[in-house]
Amino acid sequence: MSLQFILDGLINGSMIGLGAIGVTLTYAILRFSNFAHGDLMAWGAYATLALVSGIAALAGAAAPIGALSFGWPMIVAALGGMALTGLLALALDWLLFARLRDRGQAIIIVMASFGASMALRSLLEFLFTSSPVYYSRAIQMAMPVGLGIRVTPDQIALLVVTLALVLGMHLFMTRSQTGREMRAYSQNPALARVVGIDVARIVRATWLIGAALACAAGIMVGILVQIRPLMGLDMLLPMFAAAILGGIGSIPGAVLAGLIIGLSEAATVQLIGAEWRAAVAFAILMAVLFIRPMGLFGVAER
């Protein structure tokens, strides 16, 4: 039996995990399930594509870095794409969610996010059509790394980037004042106001971070698979499963659960059959929630 599924699962799992960080933060801090999160991912991927093309048009084609399929324009475009996705999320909040939040009904905000999701997706299809596009058409050679596993340079690079982003997020949440304030606000919004935390600032930080990480996940999907307007929708359920499985509000939980889901999906494809892929992730989710309703790293409601 080939163990290749372990690597595939890890890669897919890190994309799910990166996306799930935004889902779990939005849920813990803004207190609603943002179904438009997957579309932020897709918009991020397309924004980055537009920037890469723009840079290529202005500066000419750049050589790839080492054995990777992309060069420095991709890195610049990725940072720009993350910023633009953050701005898109802020705009959505200003246009839609902030107005509904003031009226206080969570279910209405969730429904609004469904609407936003459909609008964002249709707009992408309108702008870029629904046929898939790629950052690069270069074919990468996968290198054998033992145990029958083969890995491409892009995959290694993106695993390292994921690790760095997750570590960075962890340090941000535990060491920075804004991170502490975000955790405090998620635990007790009323007390957060009493101790002087500016809620508007926390809301902005949550959108910016969640959207930037969604964009990073979208770029990863784009580099390793392809860019399509529906790419976010396909990732939505695994991302929610990871956020819930990891425990709402927990960033390490979301990442670990993303890896668990990625691995179990890949194992299912390998061992049972591709048609069971989605089902197994949810079976695991439900089994864990029966035993530990607050998720792996969650804390019981007080």
Binding site: R180, R193, V194, G196, V199, R302
Partner: protein
């Protein structure tokens, strides 16, 4: 004596047309401990929360050092010098003791925060020993101390507490009130809402008795405790004389 907090004819309530605080006027002078007593439902808690910006104010005004702060958003109150310790859920249970203080210190100049946290630990040595523990693992009395330290870290002009003795064993009630007495001696003005009238009046200078959303009586803490009419009506004890 300088009047620090001046609440004039305050009207407040959660829903329009349904006031809980109905024209209450209280004040606190510099270095004073002012106690607010009253039967359940008299609006004690709502009054103090309205002053803190947590209950919508529909009439009257609040002056801090002569400056109107009425209906300032709650998160700006602490910047104006008004610190509030809610009755329950007054700490962040999943942050460590130190993080609880650091979060509250966010409005101070960044470079001064570590030294200020150390000052708080000097004031509350029990907390210093548990600085790396999650605040949720502290005992009730220690949580209350952490909540007070968290409020004090920003150098407030006025410290307002909503029933600091609620849910505490008598030993801890004594400890909490002893600490409040010490804090006052350092010059801070304290406004205290309490059910535990005996303990509160023992450290208080002046007290108000609230009834139906406004102050019904006011007097020095010592005489209020000894006034048989008030004692029977509002404080729930019959003076044995």
């Amino acid at each position: 004596m300088t009047r620090i907090l001046d609440v004039q004819e305050l009207v407040a309530g959660y829903e329009p047309g349904l006031s809980i605080v109905k024209g209450a006027s209280i004040h606190a002078d510099e270095g004073e401990i002012v106690v607010i007593l009253g039967p359940n439902g008299a609006g004690k808690s709502s009054l103090i929360k309205a002053i803190a910006g947590l209950v919508p104010v529909t009439g009257g005004q609040v002056l801090l050092d002569g400056v109107p702060i009425t209906a300032t958003p709650a998160h700006l109150m602490v910047r104006r010098g008004l610190a509030f310790v809610p009755q329950t859920e007054n700490i962040f249970p999943l942050l460590t003791v130190q993080e609880n203080l650091a979060v509250a210190g966010g409005i101070l100049p960044r470079a001064t925060v570590p030294a200020r946290i150390d000052e708080m630990f000097g004031m509350f040595p029990d907390l210093a020993r548990q600085r790396r523990l999650l605040a949720g693992s502290l005992s009730g009395g220690q949580r209350q101390m952490l909540a007070v330290a968290r409020a004090l870290i920003v150098h407030p002009r006025v410290l307002m507490l909503d029933e600091p003795s609620a849910g505490l064993s008598p030993k801890f009630v004594e400890m909490v009130f002893a600490r409040l007495g010490e804090i006052r001696r350092a010059g801070l003005t304290i406004v205290l809402v309490e059910q535990n009238a005996r303990a509160a009046l023992a450290i208080g200078d002046r007290a108000y008795v609230l009834a139906e959303g406004r102050e019904a009586h006011e007097g020095p803490a010592a005489t209020l405790w000894n006034d048989p009419v008030i004692a029977e009506l509002y404080l729930g004890h019959r003076k044995a004389s």
